[in-house]
């Protein structure tokens, strides 16, 4: 009896959800499509022929975005962890180290990423210092790394701070040095604490690699711009948008799943 009622409730809910979706999305679509300029917008942004034509070119640029993403993903966790550790060292001897870490995070969190990319990407090659790479792509990756590492270092640091002081005391009591205590007792716990926050940073980084287009590097966005300039058609931007979404939506779903699973695993632990 209960079961049957439940089924009926389920059907009813599904029905309401469907009707509601049709009204909201359909209504929204109707407003767009019936707007006086829609035929022109459709022609300029959603043109099938342009889509097919722009696709290979934009996709080509998108591989560069993925490459940048991959390099930054390798560099950021390492640089950020180093900064976080520097900032966590106690004692007067490490004061200059802490200062460097503090100044670093303050400066690189304070500068808008796009400015940092412009400054490093155009500025450093212009200095023409021998031995330094002159490729804009390289400096683009550096800018992404420096900026994201500053944020990520703070995430790590919050994780380190969340590990109780008593853990450090018991590690030191075993005769471990400050560094060994961090390395073997504190950091493993700290990193575990912040994995969900780190994963969200990954999602955000995946999109921000598009900013490198301001350097004229031929990534997906730049290629889309080139196509637009040539044809006066904006469909290429829609192509780039879809390419980014193709990565970021599965990534976001994965992060959500991972965080939920992590939470479930942690809540299973026994206390007492």
């Amino acid at each position: 009896m209960r079961r049957a009622l439940g089924d009926i409730d389920g059907v009813r809910s599904a029905l309401i959800a469907t009707v509601s979706a049709v009204v909201v999305f359909g209504g929204g679509a109707l407003v767009v499509v019936r707007s006086p300029n829609w035929p022109r917008v459709r022609q300029q942004f959603f043109n099938g022929d342009d889509f097919v034509e722009a696709w290979p070119q934009v996709l080509d640029g998108f591989w560069l975005n993925l490459e940048l993403f991959a390099y930054a993903m390798l560099l950021i966790p390492v640089v950020a962890l180093a900064v976080a550790v520097m900032r966590s060292l106690r004692g007067p001897a490490f004061w200059p180290v802490r200062l460097v870490a503090v100044v670093y995070t303050d400066v690189f969190r304070g500068v808008p990423l796009i400015l940092l990319i412009l400054l490093l990407g155009f500025g450093v090659p212009a200095l023409d210092i021998s031995g330094l790479p002159r490729s804009s792509t390289f400096w683009g990756i550096m800018a992404l790394t420096l900026s994201y590492s500053a944020y990520t270092a703070e995430i790590y640091r919050s994780g380190i701070d969340a590990v109780p002081e008593s853990q450090t005391a018991s590690a030191r009591a075993l005769g471990l040095t400050q560094w060994q205590s961090l390395r073997f007792a504190i950091l493993p716990q700290a990193i575990r604490n912040v994995v969900p926050a780190l994963m969200n940073t990954v999602v955000s980084l995946q999109k921000d690699v598009a900013l490198i287009s301001v350097l004229g590097v031929r990534d997906a966005v730049r290629e889309a711009q080139i196509y637009t300039t040539r044809t006066f058609n904006y469909t290429s931007f829609v192509v780039a948008t879809l390419l980014f979404l193709a990565i970021s939506i599965p990534l976001t779903r994965f992060v959500d799943w991972f965080i939920a699973r992590d939470r479930a695993v942690r809540s299973q632990t026994m206390v007492g």
Partner: protein, 252 residues
Amino acid sequence: MESAPPVKLEIDAVSKSYGDRVVLDGLSLSVAEHEVLCLIGPSGCGKSTLLRCVDLLDPIDSGDIRLDGLSVIGRDVDADAVRRRIGIVFQSFNLFPHMTVLDNVTLGARRAHGIDRATAEATGRDLLERFGLIDKVDEYPNRISGGQNQRAAIARALMSDPEVLLLDEVTSALDPELVGEVLGVIRELAGRGLTMVLATHEMGFAREVADRVCFLDRGQVLEQGAPREVFTTPQHERTQQFLRRVTEAGRL
């Protein structure tokens, strides 16, 4: 002249403040080799701070601490080396939650003392077996009881074969039915002649295992002596007050 056992640990006029709060106020105390010394006293009397300072986990403001007659305070002292000679066990166990019991117990040996894993694990297993934890070696701390955690923590502190073991209210965080198993372990260590300093609220146990009891009050040793003397004929009014309150709470 009767030859007294050699002094192992000497605390000499040690003072320590946290901000404006004076926790240790010129406290002096010495512990003989093989002696079991119990520190008793009201909360905040400085017991825990004293133990932390002796293990060099908190710097002292003034005074001196000597181990075998040699000062362990000062710039030229290798604090990590001193900590290996002194073991400490905390009220809240403080096992590392991301490591198994065996890894917890062997971490110091493997990383700080440079002992290879196999040797460290053999020693660790022996200790854990002695403390009835041999079937828990591969468990994580949050999967075993508080009493088991604390026994593992004692095993961890004993891995470096310390000359002095400091125990900071090691049964205070335990459910009453788990207290006995931990006290059993300490009793065994006392029987083996390990030099120990215990801060404790278990007066019955202090009376049983201690060679000497020290009553701490306002950062100083107010009264000390054989357990029988201190517990039955306390001299100072504050000691009497404290013991009366403890008796009323049914802990003696």
